[in-house]
């Protein structure tokens, strides 16, 4: 199972529409979840609408949260999306067998069996989550909380029985022309999660769409991503296509 988790606090303003990019991800079998981080105010109506639409196009969930809820939300969203992804696959199978894909339409006893299978798969199937972090200037004071949320997510994923991996990207890159930079390649350890962000230089633009496309490419070339992890700590090991 593949997921992209986008953490942002506002509107994209450069390049391809993030909604289109999210739809691309969905067609590649990658679910896109979006967390909108609020500070004292809000992300604005435009930002909220965009966040909602990205998730809808990406077949995932969206949620607006403040700093303190970030860890809990990221962890719950990931879990919920795993169940949803499996549920969709199971419903497809059910449609072929029963001609009716809805789990709700089953009587409670049969539903119990189907849900047992969903739970079992949700716990044991392998899972990859690529975290995509908006590192535009306004996000700077929030990055400590983001890092904590990543650590917390790793903790939850490690408790699963199936193989779980995360990778971390941020956008925009510090150099001109970089839409997105990989901070941490696929890993199932907590090492390396700490200290990803403090040295980041915050960019001015918010190329959310291009950054999502970049992560889709990373998924497509899975092996390439694995090789680049050899850069020991994964620190700023720029990933250029």
């Amino acid at each position: 199972m593949k997921q992209i988790l986008l953490i942002t606090d506002g509107c994209s303003n450069v390049g391809l529409s993030p909604v289109v990019a999210a739809a691309h991800a969905q067609s590649d079998g990658i679910s896109v979840n979006v967390v909108g981080v609020l500070d004292h105010g809000d992300v604005g109506e435009l930002g909220a609408a965009e966040i909602d639409e990205i998730a809808r196009a990406g077949g995932g969930l969206s949620r607006m949260v403040n700093m303190r809820q970030l860890s809990q939300t990221v962890q719950m969203m990931t879990r919920k999306t795993v169940v949803q992804t499996i549920q969709l696959a199971v419903q497809k199978e059910l449609k072929q067998v029963l001609g009716n894909g809805s789990i709700e339409a089953l009587p409670p006893e049969k539903r119990a069996d189907v849900v047992r299978v969903i739970d079992e798969l949700g716990e044991t199937s392998s899972l990859q989550v690529a975290l995509l972090i908006d590192a535009s200037a306004s996000m700077k004071p929030k990055l400590a909380a983001v890092e904590e949320a990543i650590r917390d997510l790793m903790l939850s994923l490690q408790a699963r029985q199936g193989k779980s991996e995360i990778s971390v990207f941020h956008f925009p890159g510090s150099r001109h022309g970089d839409d997105c930079v990989m901070d941490l390649g696929w890993t199932s350890h907590l090492n390396g999660v700490h200290g990803i962000f403090p040295r980041l230089q915050m960019g001015g633009t918010t190329p959310t769409g291009p950054a999502i496309m970049h992560v889709i490419d990373f998924y497509r070339q899975g092996d390439y991503g694995r090789q680049s992890r050899d850069g020991t700590d994964g620190m700023m090991s720029d990933y250029v296509v």
């Binding site: 949620r63 919920k80 709700e104 917390d152 490690q158 408790a159 029985q161």
Partner: protein, 307 residues
Amino acid sequence: MTTSFKVDLRRGMVVTGKWKQGRYRVERLLGEGANGKVYLVQRDRSWYALKVGMDAVDLQSEINVLQSIAKQKQHGHEPFLFDVDDLYGPDGREYPFYIMRYVLGSTLGDYLKQKGPEWFPLVGLNLLGKLAKLHQAGWVFGDLKVENVLVADYGHVELVDYGGVTGVGKGIRQFTEIYDRGYWNEGSRSADPGYDLFSFGVLCLKLHESKRLHQLTMELLPQNRSAGELIQIAELSPALKPIAGWLRKAFAGQFTDASDASAAWRALMHRRDTHRSSATPGWLKGLVAASAVLLGTSVYWLLRNVL
């Protein structure tokens, strides 16, 4: 993800099960869990608790756990799960629900407020007993917190909201941050008996030192959260000091399971200081302090006048 519930059952409404046609009259809302609302309902002059969920898969997952537990229980136990069905909400949509035994009681926090803190050691013991039974059957409760413990008369304890119950060895399905072992950097989120005992320790702090605990979560940087900080609160608390040693073991995962922990708790209960320190009311201590100050002042004045 949406936790706001659109389904809202009103007093006097009669809901009818779609599959088995069970009819239940709604009395009132009892509480709200992470994935559903619980109502007090009546059927054939008996009271039950009805839990209605938003998501069929989510609620069914919880029902599956309840059914597995029910199967494991030896005969002689009252049945816990009475009915599983779907209902039509006021908005015309279908919602899954299940019917369980209604437990007349108050939440742990309220109970101790009403009946007094002297009930705490016994209630704690009974709660550990409940956890021990679950652990023996291969389950971990997961989302243990003050709100999920109901206490009936004479300290009888009942766990509610089984949404977090997880088979040993799997990832905890549902938890609350401040009760979570991982949040305090003290271990994994895999289900093992120690996970519940850690939460039990936090629950003790939440009952007696709620403000300090809250303050701690606000002040500490995530990487500095540790059991040591929790222990420190316990050491400084008159109510918790007698059980600080027990708490230390619970936070360090040194009990093999809840029955081990419960034996240690029981041994503690029969020591006199456990009761004595909690039996001294705060106002009495204040009075003692005040009279000491008064005495000091009068001695001072006396000496000043004499010399």
